[in-house]
């Protein structure tokens, strides 16, 4: 949120490492990982100063950095709260009632999609498929996926986060990874012949 941005020494080293992955003259390819790195250092959002710094670092025009940053939802061009909640509302999640999860969140936090709570804790964002459809509905909170959510379980996750705890990520209904909900559904009565 400051007007200037510079990579911290350790991030500078990481940035140089990232750039080194690409062939000479193709440093611009590193724009996405660098934007991600920089926005993590800058309270989770890419300010103008962040984009300028990345453009300078990669020797590319500022507009090209802005184009990339504005294209991807994972780069925030507005300040975000401590926890960025990305709600998947694409078909599989929606079929599993992601609407209820979102509505419960909005009601609990008192903010709508695209807004940040007054205490600067939570920002709400609607995104397209997060690629975890088997455990729908899901919400990505910063880097972690909270899966198999219901209106109740998202609220308890939020309460825990608010209390400074780190609720376990992954499924919220206790199943093993994406194994069937409620235990094995098939091959339960399988018998093996003697031979």
């Amino acid at each position: 949120m400051s007007d200037t941005f510079e990579f911290s020494p350790e991030n500078l080293a990481t940035a140089q490492q990232i750039v080194a992955k690409y062939p000479e003259g193709r440093q611009a390819s590193a724009v996405l990982p660098l934007l991600d790195l920089a926005q993590r250092q800058n309270s989770g959002w890419a300010s103008d100063a962040v984009m300028d710094a990345v453009a300078r670092f990669l020797d590319m025009p500022r507009i090209r950095v802005v184009e990339v940053a504005s294209f991807y939802t994972m780069i925030s061009m507005k300040p975000v709260g401590k926890y960025l909640l990305q709600f998947c509302t694409t078909t599989p999640c929606w079929l599993r009632d992601s609407d209820a999860v979102l509505a419960a969140t909005e009601e609990h936090l008192g903010v709508r999609l695209g807004q940040t709570t007054d205490d600067g804790m939570f920002s709400l964002l609607e995104v397209e498929c997060l690629g975890a459809c088997v455990n729908a509905p899901i919400v990505q909170i910063n880097d972690d996926m909270y899966e198999d959510l219901t209106a109740d379980s998202i609220v308890s996750v939020l309460k825990a986060l608010k209390a400074g705890e780190t609720p376990p990520y992954g499924t919220q209904i206790g199943r093993q990874t994406s194994a069937p909900d409620g235990g094995a559904k098939v091959l339960n009565d399988m018998t093996f012949s003697e031979d």
């Binding site: 500022r62 507009i63 090209r64 802005v66 184009e67 504005s70 294209f71």
Partner: protein, 688 residues
């Protein structure tokens, strides 16, 4: 050479063409928005869908599909027709359909293609999106709600203009073209207005001025620089409303510079529309033509030829200069000159003042040495060729002179003539680069020719050209980058001092001492007028600029849009300018003024019509008959070897947007000067 069929007609096309280009060669029109033959392929408008067999059973974007052997392309099937109406319907979903209040109306690709390929009605009843306006500088007006995201403007400014100001941010339904609220910092930015297939980017100075169908269109030649860009002047009544480029592959392709396009509002301001005479109080008073001529005749009575001089300006057509040259000869004066900037150009050797390589060929060069030149502002359309050569062919560019952002990478070799001498001697490593090159060229700018050593520079450059293999039977890499539209034509007709004549510098010096009593300025405004205060100055021209301020007699002439005339561009191409409107008030075409004056002076010039004048001109200088062609110049001896100065090469153009009386009178160019010239270090210190 793939063979394929387009709508059942077999055609063989060159390798590397796209399906769209193959269809064009077969004479089949493919609608398109994003595709442009001079820009990279984007493939995002989807308007060019065709059916291709073999291939997937769906329409394909022909602009991005390489033409292959045995392809069967169908452009008139029900599938293609449906695809086009479908794309058109999608494009129009978010288009405001405000054609009646849109400047693009009547010359809009979207309008035309919606008529040709779209539905007759709309099925869309939901809300349309609206996009906030963007600021893109004093030249480009934006109504971004109309944008269909073809990205032609982004590709043009990046690829041709060489500036990275424009881009498309966000995605999907929220995609927007933006410059991040700064002006497009290219001197070619106006071309995005022509490229925009809809009314999203339109001309700011021309906004709501006229409708395209009420304009009278005249094809003529631009005089804002020496490139001789082919332009179309659109006039309503007797007023020039706008200037647009015309296609000429050999000169300007289909671009023009912002000065050529937008300086036309200067034609309406500060015009000289009647003759003026300065009275004994030093005040200019309107007079009749007879009084003005009588005043000149009175002043000339009994004055010997060597006491009078004539200087022509940068915008004159050949006819008036030829008439003035004849008049001065009849008056017995050899003191005539066309080189207002004192560039040491030798009129005797044509190869010594031409851009011999030719503008179009310049992009084929593999090594280029720029000497005291900044083509980006001196001749933007030559610069696009160099940039094209650099982008596509890897042209290597060396610069002797000031550093600039030329829009391409270069090696800075040195600041002045000493480096040139090293290259000529072969001691500089760039000499080997030139020698190893297949098509090397050098470009001398006016900045290198206007110094004290101005005559030695071309001589040294000639040595480089000869020793490094720049001049061969099939290639001439010696180029002078003239900046004045009239210059090559004037040198062609020998508008330079006779054997005992005085050049511009000497004319000014002798005018200061009083040895020169009368100076005739034909549109000459770029000299130091304070040195002419003692002399009796006759100014013939179209704008109340520097020349008119010191003039004792003002004869109102015609601007380039108001007369037919021959112009010779920097590569020696003879081109014909045409009258679009009439000169204002009592102003007249310039050759007729000189003809009338000659009769009053009793030295009547031997022609009564423009045709007779041109007949004489053609008889004396046959190459003027070959309109639209370049006569190659023979390689001759020119330049005077001499001591080279240690002073770095300067620049003759300080502010791209104001170089002549027309652009100095233009409000648009003044706005550009405020916005741009102060940014890039070209400001004189008094701007903004």
């Amino acid at each position: 050479m793939p063979k394929l069929t387009v709508d059942g007609v077999e055609i063989e096309v060159e390798n590397g063409l796209t399906v769209l280009q193959a269809c064009e060669q077969a004479g089949v029109e493919i609608p398109r928005f994003c595709y442009h033959e001079r820009l990279s392929i984007a493939g995002n408008c989807r308007m060019c869908l065709v059916e291709v067999k073999p291939g997937p059973p769906k329409p394909q974007a022909s602009c991005a599909l390489p033409a292959g052997e045995g392809m069967e392309i169908i452009t008139n099937s029900p599938m293609v027709k449906k695809a086009r109406t479908g794309v058109m319907e999608f494009l129009l979903i978010n288009h405001p359909l405000d054609c009646p209040i849109c400047d693009q109306g009547g010359e809009c690709d979207l309008q035309d293609q919606a008529m040709g390929y779209g539905h007759s009605g709309s099925r869309y009843t939901e809300d349309k999106r609206a996009v906030s306006e963007k600021y893109m500088g004093p030249l480009i007006n934006t109504i971004m709600t109309r944008c269909i995201h073809c990205t032609r403007c982004v590709r043009f400014s990046t690829e041709v203009g060489g500036v990275t100001d424009m881009g498309m941010v966000n995605r999907g339904e929220n995609a927007e073209i933006t410059t991040l609220e700064k002006a497009v910092s290219s001197e070619l930015s106006g071309n995005v207005i022509d490229l925009c297939p809809v009314g999203a980017l339109t001309s700011k100075p021309y906004s709501f001025m006229a409708r395209s169908w009420e304009l009278q269109k005249t094809e003529t030649i631009d005089v804002m620089d020496a490139v001789g860009s082919n332009i179309r002047v659109d006039a309503r009544g007797n007023e020039v409303m706008r200037v647009l480029p015309r296609l000429n592959e050999d000169v300007n392709e289909e671009w023009i510079s912002d000065k050529s396009r937008f300086a036309c509002d200067g034609l309406r301001r500060q015009r000289l529309d009647k003759p003026y005479l300065r009275d004994s109080d030093g005040k200019l008073n309107p007079a009749s033509w007879d009084e003005a001529f009588a005043a000149i005749a009175k002043k000339l009575t009994g004055v010997s030829g060597d006491k009078i001089a004539a200087i022509v300006g940068d915008l004159c057509e050949v006819e008036s200069m030829y008439a003035l040259k004849q008049l001065m000869a009849k008056l017995g004066s050899q003191n005539i000159d066309c080189r207002q900037d004192s560039a040491k150009l030798d009129a005797n050797a044509r190869a010594g003042y031409l851009f011999n390589t030719g503008i179009a060929n310049a992009e084929d060069a593999d090594v280029c040495l720029l000497i005291g030149a900044n083509p980006r502002i001196e001749a933007p359309l030559v610069n696009t060729r160099l940039r094209k050569g650099w982008l596509s062919g890897g042209m290597r560019i060396g610069v002797v002179g000031q550093r600039h952002d030329f829009t391409y990478d270069y090696d800075h070799l040195g600041a002045g003539a000493q480096t040139l001498q090293e290259i000529a001697d072969g001691t500089h490593s760039f000499a080997d680069v030139l020698k190893a090159a297949k098509r090397p060229m050098l470009i001398i700018g006016m900045g290198a020719l206007t110094g004290e050593d101005g005559a030695a520079v071309p001589a040294t450059a000639r040595t480089i050209a000869e020793t490094c293999g720049l001049v061969r039977d099939d290639w001439n890499g010696f180029n002078v980058l003239n900046t004045a539209a009239s210059r090559v034509g004037a040198l062609d007709i020998g508008f330079t001092p006779g054997p005992d004549g005085l050049n511009v510098e000497s004319i000014l010096a002798e005018a200061e001492t009083g040895d020169i009593g009368l100076v005739y300025l034909l549109g000459a405004d770029e000299i130091d007028m304070s040195r002419l205060e003692k002399a009796f100055v006759v100014y013939q021209g179209h704008h109340g600029d520097a020349g008119a301020h010191v003039a004792d007699v003002i004869l109102p002439g015609a601007a380039y849009t108001e007369k037919d005339g021959i112009y010779v561009n920097l590569e020696g191409r003879v081109q014909m300018g045409r009258r679009a409107v009439f000169p204002p008030g009592e102003a007249r075409e310039d050759w007729t003024i000189l003809r009338a004056l000659s009769a009053v002076l009793g030295k009547t010039l031997p022609f009564n019509t423009a045709t007779e004048l041109r007949g004489m001109l053609h008889a004396e200088y046959p190459h003027f008959t070959k309109v639209d062609s370049c006569e190659p110049a023979a390689w001759e001896n020119f330049g005077a070897p001499g001591t080279l100065s240690k002073t770095p090469f300067g620049l003759t153009i300080e502010n791209f947007y104001m170089t002549d009386p027309i652009s100095r009178a233009s409000e648009t160019m003044a706005a550009c000067t405020r916005d741009f010239a102060s940014d890039n270090g070209e400001a004189s210190g008094t701007n903004g």
